[in-house]
């Protein structure tokens, strides 16, 4: 029984607020060149809100049983992507069905969170987890990461790994396991650089380290984003008045760089407000995690918090030039149906936990 008096208005308002700002920003980013994207995003937002409501209404504890089948479905769809997926910009990421295309790697993020939550919930280790207790979670993340890297999609792989790391670090680990994890991470980094990354990905990271090495290519994009953000100054240049955005100097305005659009037109004040909204949502999710009635719900909320945090942090970090340009979307501000749906369903799961935390 859900107590409507305890409906989580705070969460709902925060979600709607970000979604509204996202639509506003998308309008500014697209109205001069691709106005049709706005209405498409609007319909995805509508579908996403239905997803949000459905996830909120569903008792998340039923998902514990469904976690592994969903995970398997996710992996299967990733395999399918590699076989029959649609390629765009040199990357095979989409499955097409009935004129619509979906990006299974987005949904995989939620499936991974559910699977990890179920595993950690079902196999408690009171005295702390040793490395061997982590072998299955390792496998859980390694399989989709390997598949996503084959597309290739560096950003999504990174997010999957970071969600996994965040969740694992929340559990009680034995010192040996922590040491081993650090060791694995230390060993994986150079191997990733030499074996997993494609040339253009290495190039992007090199450009970040030495911006002068590629003045016309990705370095140019990153610089235009910085200019857009900086030009916003304190109060912004005004809605629809950002020249970097409106005269198209800013690249990837609706996918990777919507934050630059926002920062240019709304300034430091607007940027701080948006950061505040995201942080609020993340902290709220963390709070729900700590108030969840059992570990499955806690880890679920922590996972969604991690998803939101890493997306927002990496995206804004790359727009403001503190991180290299890797394709990571900004939740609810970036254009894209799969991303919107994933984020809103994830937030719906938070709501589901929230609604049931005081249940007797």
């Amino acid at each position: 029984v859900i107590h409507t008096r305890r409906f989580d208005w705070t969460l709902a308002v925060a979600v709607v607020a970000i979604a509204v700002l996202g639509m506003l920003n998308l309008y500014s980013a697209t109205w001069t060149s691709r106005p049709q994207l706005y209405s498409q995003q609007l319909s995805w937002m509508a579908i996403g809100l239905v997803g949000f409501a459905a996830a909120a209404a569903l008792d998340y504890r039923h998902l514990e049983r469904l976690a592994y089948p969903l995970y398997a479905l996710g992996v299967a769809s990733l395999v399918l992507v590699l076989i029959v997926g649609r390629t765009a910009n040199g990357s095979r990421r989409w499955l097409e069905a009935g004129g619509q295309s979906v990006q299974p790697s987005e949904f995989m993020k939620l499936f991974l969170i559910l699977a990890l939550a179920r595993f950690l919930h079902s196999w408690p280790v009171a005295e702390g987890r040793a490395l061997r207790h982590l072998l299955i979670p390792f496998a859980m993340v390694a399989l989709p990461v390997a598949l996503v890297l084959r597309q290739p999609d560096l950003g999504t792989s990174l997010i999957l790994v970071l969600i996994f790391a965040t969740i694992v670090l929340l559990t009680r680990l034995r010192p040996g396991a922590v040491l081993s994890l650090a060791l694995v991470a230390g060993l994986a980094a150079p191997l990733t650089w030499t074996h997993l990354l494609k040339d253009y990905q290495r190039q992007r990271i090199m450009t970040f380290v030495q911006p002068a090495s590629d003045p016309a290519g990705s370095g140019w994009h990153a610089r235009q984003a910085l200019t857009a953000v900086g030009a916003g100054q304190l109060g912004g240049r005004g809605f629809l008045h950002g020249t970097q955005t409106q005269l198209h100097f800013l690249p990837e305005r609706w996918t990777d760089f919507p934050f630059a659009v926002w920062a240019e037109e709304w300034g430091f004040v607007g940027s701080a407000a948006l950061l505040g909204l995201y942080l609020f949502l993340i902290l709220w999710a963390v709070r729900l995690a700590s108030e969840a009635r059992e570990r499955f719900g806690a880890i679920l909320c922590a996972g969604v918090a991690a998803l939101l945090f890493w997306h927002a942090f990496i995206n804004i970090g790359m727009v403001t030039g503190v991180l290299p340009v890797v394709g990571v979307t900004l939740p609810l501000l970036s254009y894209g149906g799969s991303s919107v749906l994933t984020v809103l369903v994830g937030l719906g799961l938070l709501m589901s936990v929230s609604l049931r935390r005081y249940q007797v």
Binding site: T243, A289, R295, A302
Partner: protein, 621 residues
């Protein structure tokens, strides 16, 4: 279920606090970065954003006009329409349509297609010039089909035109594109690649006045380099960025020549009877040039902007060298027109009495050499010797005058140095001296050289301009002017910026009565029944004084009949000359038969002009 994990859950909860802290710290980091970018460096970033979108484009200035002495256009500008396409927005289909509309040949269309297809990347957004200077008909057809021609744009630039065509080509000059070296050297003057620059004549000499000053305009372009309309900028609140961003182009100054193109045309028609030659008409009292013609000429319209390589080669390889200005760039042996100077040198130092007669037997012996004359003139005085061009008389005079005095009087009258006109690579001619012979001839100087020099057959040379100026100086009583070709410079609004008044170079050191005597004596050349140009008559009873010259030179090719350069210098009216006309026909033969009629034609044209008639009227009987 809950109980089973009791051991771990509190710890997880503790870690949630760490997680919340770390997330806050991460966002604090981002906020700090935003502070740095937007607050601390905001101004620089805003400036960079403005740099992105502001572009300065030049506004081309219109070059000044060149007008003749009566205000007729000699060099003007007309709009030339060029067709530009932006490859990014231009399709093969549009190219086909353009080709159909303009009836372009298939090969040209293919060539265009290759050029457009060869453009890649950002360059595809930059307009490319496909055709230049299309005609009115083509312009109209493109305008009509404008809406079906996506990516096609018409741009106009001022194109120099010379309405007089080849008339006065050398003195007016022409323009062509500035070269890379010049561009480097003249960068401070504001020249840009592709600019046209005066190459010859007044176009070259008055480049600084004619050129004008390009303006500039600040415009807003988007990331594709596409110009955005002002209304759009108002929408974006950017109009303030454009304030003060426009500097109007300043048109070049107009230059009015001293040349009367009626006279110029007459002069060119007159020398046009011969293969190569030159004629100069100077106003004796001012040094103003009224006509200066060099044959063959060329059409400066062919050059300006875009001479085809074939035309260029044809002009450069023409054995008659049409680009050479024969009035100033070439010097010639003067032949007998030099005799006036020999006479003046003798008169100045009282070495001869005008009534003293010397005998001509048709030959003169000196040092085992025979110096010849055209006829045996018998006993002749100076006036007769000038009229009949008796060499023997002048040989004897030369023995009295000597080389030093000949050199001195030559220099006095401006020979051996450029006149100061400064046009078309003017040369100064050459004045021989004893020293020169000592240095350049085996056996050094001999008196014989003086004899030849005295009749203009030595090594002294002068330009046609110098010849006209020399006789003008004699006729005006000794005022050697710097010849002028430009009367005034005016701003485009008509304001006079510079008025060129006659500029005296010096007053020659010869008594005016001696020069007046020579001028009178020169009337005998046409009036003395035995004068070399007897029977040559100007129209309307205008008396002409003059001097013939037939300068013997090596024939240009074996077997040529008479290789001599034909000279005639006319002064008219003889009693008070207002005009000095020098004519030279290269390898024309006898000065009297060939050059004199040309000079008379020019004199007649001069006196036909209404202004001259008007000015002459009070003196008419």
């Amino acid at each position: 279920v809950v109980g089973a994990s009791r051991g771990e859950t509190p710890e997880i909860r503790r870690r949630f606090r760490v997680m919340a802290f770390l997330a806050s710290a991460g966002f604090a980091l981002l906020l700090g970065r935003l502070w740095q970018l937007q607050i601390l460096q905001g101004t620089q970033h805003l400036a960079r954003a403005h740099d992105n979108l502001l572009t300065e484009i030049p506004i081309s200035s219109v070059r000044g006009q060149i007008l003749d002495a009566r205000g007729r256009l000699v060099a003007d500008n007309r709009p030339s329409y060029d067709v530009y396409v932006t490859p990014r927005f231009f399709s093969d289909e549009t190219l086909e349509r353009l080709g159909r509309i303009l009836a372009l040949p298939h090969e040209q269309l293919e060539q265009m297609r290759r050029r457009i297809d060869g453009t890649e990347g950002l360059a595809r957004y930059r307009p490319k010039r496909l055709l230049r200077d299309i005609d009115r008909d083509q312009l109209a057809r493109i305008e009509t089909a404008r809406l079906e021609l996506a990516g096609v744009r018409l741009e106009w630039t001022p194109q120099r035109v010379y309405p007089m065509k080849s008339v006065g080509a050398h003195l007016v000059g022409y323009l062509n594109e500035i070269g890379p070296g010049e561009l480097q050297a003249r960068r401070d003057e504001g020249y840009a690649p592709g600019d046209l620059i005066g190459r010859a004549g007044v176009e070259w000499l008055f480049e600084a006045s004619l050129r004008g000053h390009d303006g500039r305009e600040r415009i807003v372009t988007d990331a594709r380099g596409v110009r955005r309309a002002t209304e759009e900028l108002r929408e974006l609140g950017l109009t303030h960025l454009l304030a003060g961003g426009r500097e109007e182009a300043r048109a070049g100054h107009n230059v009015t020549l001293t040349i009367d193109f009626d006279l110029q045309r007459a002069a060119e028609r007159a020398i046009g009877r011969y293969r190569t030659g030159a004629a100069v008409a100077i106003e004796t009292d001012t040094g103003r040039i009224l006509a200066m013609a060099s044959r063959p000429g060329f059409d400066p319209n062919l050059f300006t902007g875009h001479v085809s390589p074939e035309q260029q080669a044809q002009l450069e390889q023409d054995p008659r060298r049409p680009l050479i200005d024969r009035t100033v760039r070439e010097d010639y042996f003067p032949g007998s027109i030099f005799k006036a100077l020999t006479a003046l040198a003798a008169l100045r130092d009282h070495l001869i009495d005008v009534d003293e007669k010397l005998e001509c037997k048709g030959r003169h012996e000196l040092g085992g050499h025979t110096f010849r004359c055209a006829h045996a003139h018998g006993w002749v005085n100076l006036e007769q010797a000038l009229a009949r061009s008796c060499n023997v008389y002048f040989y004897q005079l030369a023995e009295r005058v000597g080389m030093d005095r000949l050199a001195d009087i030559s220099r006095e009258f401006g020979l051996g140095a450029p006149t100061g006109l400064g046009l078309n690579g003017e040369v100064g001619g050459f004045v021989t001296t004893k020293d020169w012979y000592h240095q350049n001839w085996k056996g050094g100087f001999r008196l014989g050289f003086t004899l030849n020099a005295a009749i203009g057959q030595g090594n002294t040379k002068m330009t046609v301009l110098q010849a006209a100026l020399l006789y003008a100086t004699i006729a005006n009583g000794g005022r050697l002017f710097v010849p002028q070709i430009v009367r005034r410079v005016q701003a485009a609004d008509g304001r006079v910026l510079q008025e060129f008044t006659p500029q005296l170079r010096r007053t020659v050191g010869v008594a005016p009565e001696h020069m007046a005597w020579i001028t009178r004596a020169l009337a005998g050349v046409v009036e003395d029944p035995r004068g070399t140009a007897y029977g040559v008559k100007a129209a309307d009873g205008i008396r002409v004084a003059g001097k013939t010259g037939t300068a013997q030179v090596r024939p240009p090719k074996r077997g040529a009949e008479d290789a001599s350069h034909a000279w005639f210098v006319a002064l008219a009216p003889a009693e008070a000359p207002r005009i000095s006309v020098a004519v030279l026909i290269e390898h024309g033969g006898q000065g009297s038969k060939v050059a004199a009629p040309v000079a008379i034609d020019i004199v007649n044209a001069y006196f036909r002009s209404p202004e001259v008639r008007m000015a002459a009227a009070p003196e008419a009987p």
